[in-house]
Amino acid sequence: MAEKLNVAARNALGTSNTRRLRNAGQVPAELYGHGAENVHLAIPAEEINSAIRHGSKLVELAGVVNESALIRSVQWDAFGADVLHLDLTRVKAGQRVPITVAIVLRGEAPGLRAGGVVDHVLHQVEVECPVIAIPDKLEINMNSLELGQSITLDQVELPEGTVLLVSGDQIVVQCVEAPVDDDGDVAASGDVAEPEVIGRKADDEESAEDD
């Protein structure tokens, strides 16, 4: 189910106008694609935050434009708290789109009881899927992951109509031996040896040769 976003036209462009827009609780957005002209939009920040929190990638725009759009990219502030800008692309019902989907681990690996740690190597993957069936996430069951074993992308069950856009031999998650702690290796005092200075030795040798 696509989230509905109420959009308004944004006529005042530029840095200061956009800042004023953000201060008023709106987020600037751009709609483009399919050979049509791009449209500058303003969307309420709460609606965008809600859509992003629910993991929606497909949204229904209502207001100055009434069509489906895909969230192509999201710009965040430095703290990852507020959305600064949104890129939306027009999509048609039967269209297939390339998209990045999160990989989520489920269950408990038996390798943990054997003293291993789970190393989640790949957190997201590029897939192509119909726009009406974009998966929120790909779930991987770790209940059979023993110590020293790994799960590759080929072993991940994909929803119907979804294909990988990357090589299937990439490791997604592995159970490896726990790294050894080296707590005792800390220098007790602030006195430290100095690092090598690049070019220092070469210069010294050159000056010696000149002499």
Partner: protein, 138 residues
């Protein structure tokens, strides 16, 4: 041995200013949770190491800890009871220059509850304000 570079171009550096927020290194990349700086500042190599130990002692073999900052900057000082002048002092310690928003540490393979407790212990060691952040799903 505290963290410091293996090779440097110059032994001493000017102090500089920490201006603006972090535009890089401000997302959780390796783990599931991160400790994000809310203020800018210098974090000593010893402090980074103390934080690592505090976190490692809590997670001990369960999850994985990632350190996202490195002390690239040398800080000099003149010895006590020394007369003024005679040039810049000798490098005494190394610091990481941190902008607000930088992710300092990351944790993977643990629950949010564990990450919260672990980062609370770790945050006590830090000279700046921090908060817990989660990995953002694609």
């Amino acid at each position: 041995m505290a963290l410091m570079p293996k090779r440097v171009k110059h032994r001493k550096s000017q102090r500089g200013r920490i201006k603006g927020n972090a535009t890089r290194g401000n997302r959780v990349v390796f783990g599931d949770f991160g400790l994000q700086a809310l203020q800018g500042g210098w974090i000593k190599a010893q402090t980074i190491e103390a934080g690592r130990i505090a976190a490692q002692q809590y997670i001990r073999g369960e999850g994985r800890l990632y350190i996202r900052i490195f002390p690239h900057k040398s800080i000099t000082s003149t010895p006590l009871e020394t007369r003024m002048g005679k040039g810049k002092g000798e490098p005494e310690h190394w610091v990481a220059s941190v902008r607000p928003g930088t992710v300092l540490y990351e944790l993977g393979g643990v629950t949010e509850e564990q990450a919260r407790i672990c980062f609370a212990r770790l945050a006590h060691k830090m000279p700046i304000g921090t908060k817990l952040v989660r990995r953002r799903l694609a």
